[in-house]
């Protein structure tokens, strides 16, 4: 017992000694790393030595000390830096010099060899992973025999498991209070101790054999150990036997004795600790999960998906029925009875918002509608950069995992499943296609009609990819002949196929698309009758495009409004008046309010739009019911725009007054003034007068069609009267809204005074339906007859001018006295200039040093060559001299 402890202790000590630098070169499993560490240590120590060496250090003398200033360069190591520079040149410049005029090059094709950014460990890891991947090809997918060895720190896990079993049994048998080698190693030797143990033990014995005594001792102990082991095994068997027997009678025992309990308690204590250590040692590090996809990736996937769908559709259009290759494969377990599981109705595991999703089980076998829904979702993802797409992918992965788990339980189709799952990994959403394929498979043979049917449906189906239109006619041809929903879908797909992150030119393409789309909207609005529902469905597309490219949307809108305003201005200049803007312009203005915030104080789009509206309200002649409708639409838009900001639009009030004036039967009174474009009297100044009071009874409130700005459909007198009443209703409602909006203005009463007079005295309300009368009454209640009271105006209170302070003004000095210049730009300029100068000088210096180095190497090369040559010449001379000498000697000898 004791001697074993000694042995183990010495082992540990030796281990400690061995871990000193320099000696452990080829000993352990990871020599490379060790060496690098030791190198580092040595270098650092050398560096420290140099630093300590007063002859190496050059102290830069300071003229005077400045408090708080940190100087980097008070101490320099010229020798070190020189040698560093020299070494660097040797590795770079010299190499280049040597390789000069040499055409061939040595290229290391290993992964990441020239990638300086990668850490060497990463490189190794990556290489290893690649090698593994290469070996794990498809051919040995089903190779069950060649199981790869799992390792931890380069050691087989399987072995380790065996090993720990032994330890367990040993530690079990060990008496309490004694430290086993295993335990000491694991407890005190750090995490790696366990793993090194075996090898170190062997070595230990080798070392000890020299001392015979000890050897004997060991031999003895070994013998004893063996004996003991055999003994233990025997006892073990016996105990196991006993245990089994004990188990059989365990139930008979009612309760345990306290002593037994104590023992049980004590033992787990140790075990728990050990287990913990082991667990920590072997704990798998957290695996990196799949990273979140960037919006670009999502967009790319989306495009690929659409392209795939398109290719598929095309194929179907050409009549090739998809022969599903997966089902041609027959399983080994196939009974060949023609039965194929065509629908997987097993539950699949999927998560939604972190919860296990049980309801949504149709992971496979989705149908068309759902796919459309998905597209809608994806749309959202585009905007929000959300993770809907990822969720889907994750779902699929989950499916796979699930299936893998279930493979063991499944007895049939298991391998079929597997092959299918692999494919599913990349075309998860295509299941419905597969559905079709598989159903086709069931029927095996398709009749000609069915084939044709598929072809037809494919033809009717929309293509999945669209090129972005280059000009307006392109867009028109693309959209024409489709229903509104289809047009929406087409635009959606175009947008996805040309997402700006997919290619460089896509951004401008989509920006252009926005312009064309608006043009298209304008054209739809000018149709007769205007296709407003189509426009309505296009709005989300326009909105999302504008969200993508605010700048382009702004420009397009600006140019539209600018052009319209320009033409209106011109016609006013020439003719003195202008026609009310058409329905297309009204729609544009409405779109402006949808796309841009109208409440901004100044906005590049909405401010001009406001001006345009007010200009139209102030200048456009009111000649017909159509123009009244258009004007009313403008008024509505204007009210909408200011409903948040409560800004005052004089033209709006003027216009409403003018419209109400048109309903007044006699134009003799002059106690209120109408403002141009309305005239107190004259033609078309009784446009809204209701001809037949009887028609008021049959009037019911309903919304006016937008297209009546284009053409009023009412033909009979009664219909026209109804229309007029509707217009008046809208008018009064707008007036009411305005009163609510402008209630707070100081001149509120003056603003609404004319309208009040008109409503109270001149409007023939009694002839109107009750709804109108009610509105009329409400308005009159809201507008006071006498002006409200206000405090006289006073200037805003000025802030008191602060007293002059005599504190010093603190100016931030960034770099002491270096940078002149007052403004930020000047300072920056000076700084950059200085930096440039410094860099330039540095570069010059470096170049000079380089040339000096090269000259030096050249010189040393020539010197070396000269020396060589001299040596050789000397040698030759020497040999010649000896020859000569020999020859002379021979001659002499002969002569003699």
């Amino acid at each position: 017992m004791l001697d074993e402890f000694i042995v183990l202790a010495t082992q540990a000590m030796v281990q400690c000694c061995n871990s000193t630098p320099g000696q452990q070169v080829c000993e352990m499993g990871k020599p490379v790393k060790k060496r690098s560490v030791s190198d580092k240590v040595r270098r650092s120590s050398a560096h420290a030595q140099i630093k300590m060496n007063p002859f190496e250090v050059k102290i830069n003398k300071k003229k005077f000390d400045v408090l708080g200033r940190k100087s980097k360069h008070d101490v320099g190591l010229p020798g070190v830096s020189r040698s560093k520079a020299h070494n660097k040149r040797k590795h770079t410049l010299l190499k280049e010099f040597r390789m000069k005029h040499k055409a061939n090059a040595f290229i290391d094709r290993r992964f990441g060899e020239y990638d300086t950014k990668m850490a060497p460990e990463d490189k190794i890891l990556q290489r290893f992973a690649m090698e593994r991947q290469r070996s794990q090809g498809k051919k040995d997918m089903f190779n069950l025999n060649d199981e790869e060895e799992l390792t931890h720190y380069g050691q087989s896990l399987a072995e380790m498991e065996k090993f720990t079993d032994g330890v367990d049994s040993e530690s079990d048998s060990e008496e309490k209070g004694l430290l086993s080698a295993e335990i000491t190693a694991s407890h005190f030797g750090g995490g790696g101790g366990l793993l090194r143990k075996k090898t170190s033990e062997e070595e230990e014995t080798k070392n000890k054999t020299r001392q015979e005594l000890i050897e004997e001792l060991i031999l003895k102990s070994k013998q004893e150990k063996r004996e003991r082991q055999t003994q233990k095994e025997e006892t073990h068997e016996l105990t196991e036997k006993l245990d089994q027997e004990w188990k059989s009678i365990q139930n008979l025992l009612a309760h345990k004795t306290p002593k037994e309990r104590e023992e049980e308690k004590d033992k787990p204590k140790l075990n728990e600790y050990d287990m913990m250590v082991r667990e920590l040692g072997f704990e798998m590090k957290a695996q990196p999960s799949e990273k979140l996809k960037t919006p670009e990736e999502i967009a790319r996937e989306e495009r690929e998906r659409l392209q795939k769908l398109e290719a598929d559709r095309r194929r179907r259009m050409e009549g090739e029925v998809e022969e599903d290759p997966k089902h041609t494969h027959t399983s080994a377990d196939d009974l060949n009875d023609g039965f194929i599981l065509d629908k997987d109705d097993r539950k699949t595991l999927s998560y939604q918002d972190g919860k296990w999703n049980i309801e949504e089980e149709e992971g496979e076998g989705r149908d068309d509608e759902e796919e459309n829904d998905d597209e809608g979702d994806d749309d959202d993802d585009d905007d929000g950069g959300g993770s809907g797409g990822d969720d889907e992918d994750n779902d699929d992965e989950d499916d796979d995992e699930d299936n893998d788990d279930e493979d063991d339980d499944d007895d049939d189709h298991s391998d079929l499943e597997e092959s299918r799952d692999d494919d599913e990994e990349d075309e998860g959403e295509e299941d419905e296609e597969k559905e079709e394929g598989s159903t086709a498979e069931v029927k095996r043979t398709l009749s000609e009609e069915e084939r044709r049917e598929i072809q037809d449906t494919a033809r009717a189906e929309l293509p999945y990819t669209f090129t972005a239109p280059e000009c307006y006619t392109d867009l028109k041809t693309m959209l024409q002949g489709h229903s509104a929903e289809e047009q929406c879908l087409i635009l959606e797909r175009t947008k996805k196929c040309n997402h700006p992150s997919l290619a460089v030119g896509n951004k401008t393409k989509l920006q252009k698309l926005f312009g064309f789309l608006l043009e298209y909207v304008g054209e739809l609005a000018t149709h007769n009758p205007p296709q407003l529902t189509t426009i309505n469905t296009l709005i989300p597309q326009i909105y999302s495009l504008s969200q993508l490219f605010p700048g382009a949307a702004c420009q397009v809108m600006q140019s539209l409004i600018g052009d319209a305003a320009h033409s209106m201005e011109q016609s006013i200049e020439v003719k003195g008046r202008a026609a009310i803007p058409g329905l297309d312009m009204l729609i544009y203005l409405k779109i402006v309010t949808l796309l841009f915030p109208a409440s901004d104080f100044r906005h590049p789009v909405t401010t001009p739009a406001f001006l345009y509206i007010s200009q139209a309200l102030a200048k456009c002649a009111v000649m017909s019911l159509e123009s009244i409708c258009a004007g009313l639409i403008l008024c509505c838009i204007a009210v909408e725009c200011v409903s948040l900001s409560q800004r005052f639009i004089p033209e709006l009030i003027n216009y409403l007054l003018g419209l109400l004036h048109l309903a007044v039967p006699t134009h003799t009174c002059t106690d209120y003034h109408v403002v141009p474009p309305f005239r107190p009297q004259g033609k078309s100044s009784e446009l809204l007068r209701v001809c037949d009071p009887q028609s008021a009874r049959s009037w019911t409130r309903k919304s006016i069609s937008l297209s009546s700005a284009h053409r009023v459909t009412a033909t009979t007198e009664r219909e026209r009267d109804h229309y007029k009443l509707s217009v008046l209703y809208v008018c009064l409602d707008l007036v009411k809204r305005c009163t609510a909006l402008y209630q707070q203005l100081p001149a509120y009463q003056h603003i609404f005074q004319p309208i009040r007079i008109l409503l109270a005295k001149h409007l023939p309300v009694t002839d109107y339906p009750s709804a109108l009368q009610e509105l009329h009454k409400e308005i009159l209640e809201v507008i006071p007859e006498t002006p409200s009271q206000h405090a006289p105006l006073v200037f805003d209170k000025k802030k008191p001018i602060p007293l002059k302070l005599l504190q010093p003004k603190v100016v931030e000095v960034l770099d002491y006295g270096r940078k002149r210049g007052n403004t930020k730009e000047e300072k920056e300029r000076e700084r950059l200039k200085h930096k440039y100068k410094k860099e330039f000088k540095g570069a010059l210096r470096e170049i000079r040093k380089d040339t000096r180095f090269l000259a030096h190497t050249k010189l040393s090369d020539t010197l070396r060559r000269d020396v060589e040559r001299k040596r050789k010449v000397k040698e030759l001379y020497g040999s010649l001299a000896t020859q000569e000498g020999e020859w002379k000697a021979l001659k002499k000898r002969k002569r003699k």
Binding site: N536, I539, P550, I637, Q646, R647, A747, H750, P792
Partner: protein, 562 residues
């Protein structure tokens, strides 16, 4: 030699002339001498295309022939017939030919000068053949001029223009070679009849001659022509208007106006050097060479024109140019007072326009106009912000109200009224009127109480200002405050709102320059926003599911898509 030949030719022709006069327009073709009628016969009979190409040749050769020898003189009738042709090109060609022919003849002195006996009397008198020939040519010349004047009323502009030019050429030629016997009491001669004929033709009662009159302007550069045109125009207006019993005649008056506006009198007497007809003798005595006479003629012409009732649009047109191109050239501008006062009393836009002329008279000619400011005050109504002449009006009001001697109550009344009217004004108008009001307050510091009344800051009161009061002294403007401007601080346009916010602080000393703002149009205002390239464009964050579905929908409540 040559004279002998000519006389012989004439003798040979005498018979023809005689028959001509008797047989009206029927030509008797007798003998080889009379080639022209037969030729004409051929022309008539020949094909249309032939004619088209040949009429030029025919006309040219005839002119040549007439010029070559007297025996072809009868061809003149053919030329004159061409002048009445229905084909535009033929007429133009004929006009040119006539012009060439008669100018040449005038130069040669072959036209009879002096009192012309009647056509029938030519043969009766005891005259030699030469004289007879001259008389004959002179008669043809006269009828040619008549035809040309008629042609000025032709529907084709080309014909009109060439006719006009031809007459003016004749006038020039006549000036050089006067057809009147030199009257020794007056040492100058001028073809007045021709000019008055042109003027009568130009001032048509039926069609708009604006184009031709602008062509005529070239001739109006010449001082003597202008002088006589002015005289004959006056005469013309007088007669035509009296004949029509002083009723409005839009077309005619428009023509007159165009002609009148094209006449500009030189500002200095030394500039009168450009004459159509060079007089040999004394310039000084000639009326057309005197600036004073010019001015008189100009003044009389305009006064005659304005004496009669004008259509409204014409009224405006006249008033627009009056101060600039009429008043300075009159010898006595005060004569316009009646006209301007009448216009000022009409009201509306015409009053606004009359202001300008009145201003000139008040400013330069010491006109004392009672209650001028009261009238000006009453001119202010909502339409001043909407009329075309807004810039002019504010420019003038700015001048009128720039006097520092005006009473405070008056200025305050103006300020208050303008700000009340501003509640209905378009943004461009507001951008004028807001700095305008601020300027008035600056000029008259005692009006500062309108925007700053700390003494009664706590007491609330209703607006004491009476908008309906016509007398600025009685309207209590000075007791009020500019709550309207305060209201306009909430105007939708950022520039207006900013301008209105100026009254929140004490106004800085220097006045705002409103001259740049006067002509500002809505589009220019819009362009400020359109052109400024801002980096970021804020977007609506509420998504738009459909056209009529927004968080603050009003349109959708009243209108539907179908």
């Amino acid at each position: 030699m040559a004279v002998g030949a000519v006389s012989h030719d004439l003798r040979a022709h005498e018979g023809d002339i005689y028959t001509l006069e008797l047989g009206a327009c029927v030509f008797l073709s007798d003998g080889a001498d009379n080639m022209a009628p037969s030729k004409k016969h051929n022309v008539k009979k020949s094909e249309a295309e032939n004619r088209q190409t040949s009429y030029k040749q025919v006309i040219n050769t005839k002119t040549e022939l007439i010029l070559q020898s007297r025996k072809h003189a009868n061809s003149v009738f053919d030329l004159l017939e061409y002048l009445q042709s229905e084909k535009e090109k033929e007429v133009v060609c004929a006009i040119n030919a006539c012009q060439k022919l008669f100018c040449e003849l005038l130069e040669r002195g072959e036209l009879y000068a002096g009192q012309l006996p009647k056509e029938e009397e030519i043969l009766q008198g005891d005259r030699d053949a030469d004289e007879k020939y001259h008389m004959f040519i002179r008669h043809r010349y006269n009828s040619c001029v008549e035809l040309l004047v008629e042609n000025i009323g032709h529907e084709s502009y080309q014909v009109k223009e060439s006719a006009l030019c031809a007459i003016m050429k004749f006038a020039a030629a006549e000036g050089k070679h006067p057809l009147q016997k030199q009257d020794w009491s007056q040492h100058y001669s001028f073809p007045k009849e021709l000019i008055s004929g042109v003027v009568w033709a130009l001032l048509s009662e039926k069609e708009d001659m604006a184009l031709l009159i602008s062509r005529f302007q070239e001739f109006l550069e010449m001082d003597d022509v202008r002088y006589y045109v002015m005289n004959s125009a006056r005469d013309n207006i007088h007669r035509v208007m009296d004949r029509n019993k002083r009723a409005e005649m839009p077309v005619y008056q428009n023509n007159v106006f165009t002609l009148l506006t094209n006449i500009t009198v030189p500002s200095q007497g030394s500039e009168i050097t450009n004459f159509l007809v060079k007089q040999e003798g004394k310039y000084e005595d000639w009326k057309a060479a005197k600036l004073k006479e010019h001015k008189r003629a100009f003044e009389l012409m305009w006064l005659t024109f304005l004496k009669y009732k004008l259509p409204m649009s014409m009224y405006k047109k006249v008033l627009v140019i009056l101060h600039d191109s009429v008043l300075p050239h009159m010898s006595d501008p005060t004569l316009m007072i009646d006209f301007l006062t009448a216009a000022y009393n009409v009201g509306g836009a015409i009053s606004l326009l009359a202001l300008n002329g009145l201003f000139v008279l008040i400013h330069e000619h010491n006109l004392d106009y009672p209650d001028f400011y009261k009238k000006l005050y009453n001119l202010l109504d909502p339409s001043v912000f909407h009329v075309k002449y807004r810039a002019r009006f504010f420019h003038l009001s700015n001048i009128f109200l720039s006097s520092s001697h005006l009473p405070v109550y008056l200025v305050a009344a103006f300020i208050k009224r303008l700000s009340r009217l501003a509640l209905t004004a378009p943004p461009t108008g507001l951008l004028i009127v807001l700095p305008f009001i601020c300027n008035l307050i600056r000029r008259h510091p005692s009006c500062r109480v309108l925007i700053h009344r700390p003494s009664a800051a706590d007491e609330t009161c209703t607006d004491p200002y009476v908008m309906e009061e016509e007398d600025p002294a009685q309207c209590h403007a000075l007791e009020s405050s500019l709550w309207e401007i305060k209201t306009l601080q909430n105007h939708y346009h950022p520039d207006v709102s900013k301008a209105a916010k100026a009254i929140n602080q004490a106004l800085p000393e220097p006045e705002d320059d409103i001259s740049d703002l006067l002509e500002l149009s809505t589009f220019e205002l819009m362009e400020r926003d359109l052109k400024s390239q801002s980096q970021s464009v804020p977007l609506e964050f509420d998504s738009a599911p459909s056209l009529l579905q927004s968080p603050r929908e009003v349109l959708g409540l009243h209108f539907s898509l179908e």
